[in-house]
């Protein structure tokens, strides 16, 4: 009996220690987000004092000559994101529908690993393929002066977003209770009618979330765009812009950070752009998580 009394006390203290550490680990995520936000603001806010706001939101980005207009960069990101969505959303959703509702089992067993493979490819590899394959192809076929354009970026970013959209949308479709499908079929609908009349509408919120998360992923992509969009901070003025080089916010930070003097206005505005990026992705993710607030745990997993 004495033996167990001593054990009891050590066990108790040990348990409390462990519980505390687990608790603090739980809180750590909040700590990290705040730290990141703090650092970005700390280095980014000075911009407002160094460069007049009007100039920050002007249309010329040419730091060497002290032009710090970030509008072309924001619009660059938006154009590429939009283009990528136009590619990724239809292909992604339709492929998800195919895998979840139509494909026979053996096809599923092949397609799913392939999509996962695409998901695992580092963005540099896609950028690389863009430079060596997609870009020359587009240049030749569309008779462009250069293949490094917003279009190229959109196509490749679409490719990056597709796995995200496919897996979450497929998940959402799989979660539609089978009784819905059986009910529709029992009423005499064909499988095709069931898919579009019953199953897809039932999975609407999950599919929407898949799209938002795919878009979020696209906005934040860096290496691929840096390698294939030509890196010219031109203001996308017309539809033509799709066929011209463009610069995103992410590519700007990545390419110019190495060359700036710490503490200079250029340095600060790069952090400022990072804050803008942070807010953009925050917005998209908030919308995505609100759409499926019950699915928050799956959101965390899929976003990463």
């Amino acid at each position: 009996m004495k033996n167990t009394n001593m054990n009891k006390n050590t066990l108790k203290i040990g348990e409390q220690l462990v519980t505390r550490s687990i608790q603090f680990s739980g809180y750590s995520s909040i700590l990290f987000v705040l730290m990141i936000l703090f650092f970005l603001l700390y280095e980014g806010i000075p911009t407002i004092f160094e460069i007049p706001l009007k100039e920050i939101f002007s249309t010329r980005w040419y730091p060497i000559e002290n032009y710090y207009g970030i509008l072309p960069l924001i619009l660059g990101s938006l154009v590429v994101t939009l283009g990528a969505s136009l590619v990724a959303v239809p292909f992604g959703i339709l492929t998800a529908v195919y895998i979840a509702e139509i494909a026979p089992k053996w096809v599923k067993e092949i397609m799913k690993p392939l999509v996962e493979l695409l998901a695992g490819l580092p963005s540099v590899v896609l950028g690389f393929l863009g430079i060596l394959i997609v870009s020359p192809f587009l240049r030749d076929k569309l008779h462009l002066p250069t293949g490094l354009t917003a279009l190229t970026g959109s196509i490749l970013l679409g490719g990056i977003a597709i796995p995200t959209i496919v897996s979450i949308a497929e998940d959402a479709l799989n979660n539609v209770p089978n009784s819905y499908r059986l009910g529709a079929l029992a009423l005499g609908l064909t499988r095709w009618q069931t898919i579009w009349g019953v199953t897809v509408p039932a999975a609407k919120s999950g599919i929407l979330m898949a799209v938002m998360l795919g878009v979020g992923r696209t906005i934040g992509e860096t290496m691929t765009v840096m390698m294939v969009t030509g890196n010219a901070p031109l203001l996308p003025g017309s539809l033509n812009a799709l066929f011209m080089p463009i610069r995103t916010m992410t590519a700007t930070i990545a390419s110019e950070m190495g060359e700036v003097a710490s503490g200079s206005p250029h340095y600060h505005i790069l952090f400022f752009i990072a804050v803008v990026l942070f807010l953009f992705t925050l917005l998209v993710n908030l919308i995505a998580s609100n759409i499926g607030s019950k699915r928050i745990k799956r959101v965390e997993k899929m976003l990463s």
Partner: protein, 251 residues
């Protein structure tokens, strides 16, 4: 001598399901007491109150007192871990832990800090014998607990509770998932055990209560309707509702 004394005990879960209202009941030591009644009547809730398993669930309100050996188990300074060793429970489905047969039985002792193999070996054999399982599994104690039949698993669950040398054993519909042979084995074991333990069982049918119980309590919608000896409640029930339930007018 009353082992468990329940005074004005009420409990409501947050979802309002299976509550208890003002229960007053004395459970005698070293006997088999059965809680009978239609489902949702509060029997499971009461059982889980004895070892404070309902601490794990969202309880909205709880009042009254439950004394075991004179001490109110809901006092703030009660060592709940120790309470759960003193009051063991067997559930309605066989629920082995995902460990070996041996480890299932020794689990409680290992959690207490007991590391000596000789002690553990001893307890494992003793309790498996008590549950009439030793001969079946003595050659394969390291096998997974899932490799034996449902009836054997349930006896395993009984053995692992006995390993902690409890004073009270609770059983919540322990044989509902078992065949008649396994059921009979467990009922026999319980009748042997009652000499040394206080047993409270919620059988899934009244016939089981008739077979093995000494005292029977009838619960309806969270209230205790009647409590008397097994003979009396089955032959001369005092309340019309008790009689209706026992004769099968409602279930």
């Amino acid at each position: 001598m009353d082992k468990i004394v329940i005074e004005n005990f009420s409990l409501t879960y947050s979802d309002g399901v299976e509550s208890l209202f003002n229960i007053n009941l004395n459970i005698p030591a070293n006997q088999i007491t059965a809680l009978i009644g239609p489902s949702g009547g509060g029997k499971s809730t009461l059982l889980r109150a004895f070892n404070r398993l309902n601490d794990l669930v969202d309880v909205q309100r709880i009042s009254g007192v439950i004394r075991i050996d004179g001490i109110n188990i809901f006092r703030k300074d009660i060592d709940v871990i120790e309470l759960r060793r003193k009051v063991g429970i067997v559930f309605s489905r066989p629920l082995p832990l995902p460990l070996s047969i041996y480890q299932n039985v020794s689990y409680g002792l290992e959690m207490m800090g007991e590391k000596r193999k000789s002690v553990l070996d001893d307890v494992v054999e003793k309790t498996l014998r008590l549950s009439d399982l030793w001969d079946d599994v003595k050659e394969r104690l390291q096998d997974s607990a899932y490799s034996i039949s449902g009836g054997q698993q349930q006896r395993l669950c009984l053995a692992r509770t006995l390993a902690l040398q409890p004073e009270i054993i609770l059983l919540d519909e322990p044989t509902s998932a078992l065949d008649p042979v396994s059921t009979a084995k467990i009922e026999n074991t319980l009748e042997e055990l009652k000499q040394d333990y206080t047993i409270v069982i919620a059988p899934h049918n009244t016939q089981q209560a008739g077979r093995i119980a000494d005292q029977v309590a009838f619960f309806l919608q969270g209230k205790l309707i009647e409590f008397s000896s097994s003979d009396e409640i089955f032959t001369r029930p005092k309340d019309i509702r008790t009689q209706d339930y026992i004769s099968g007018k409602f279930g």
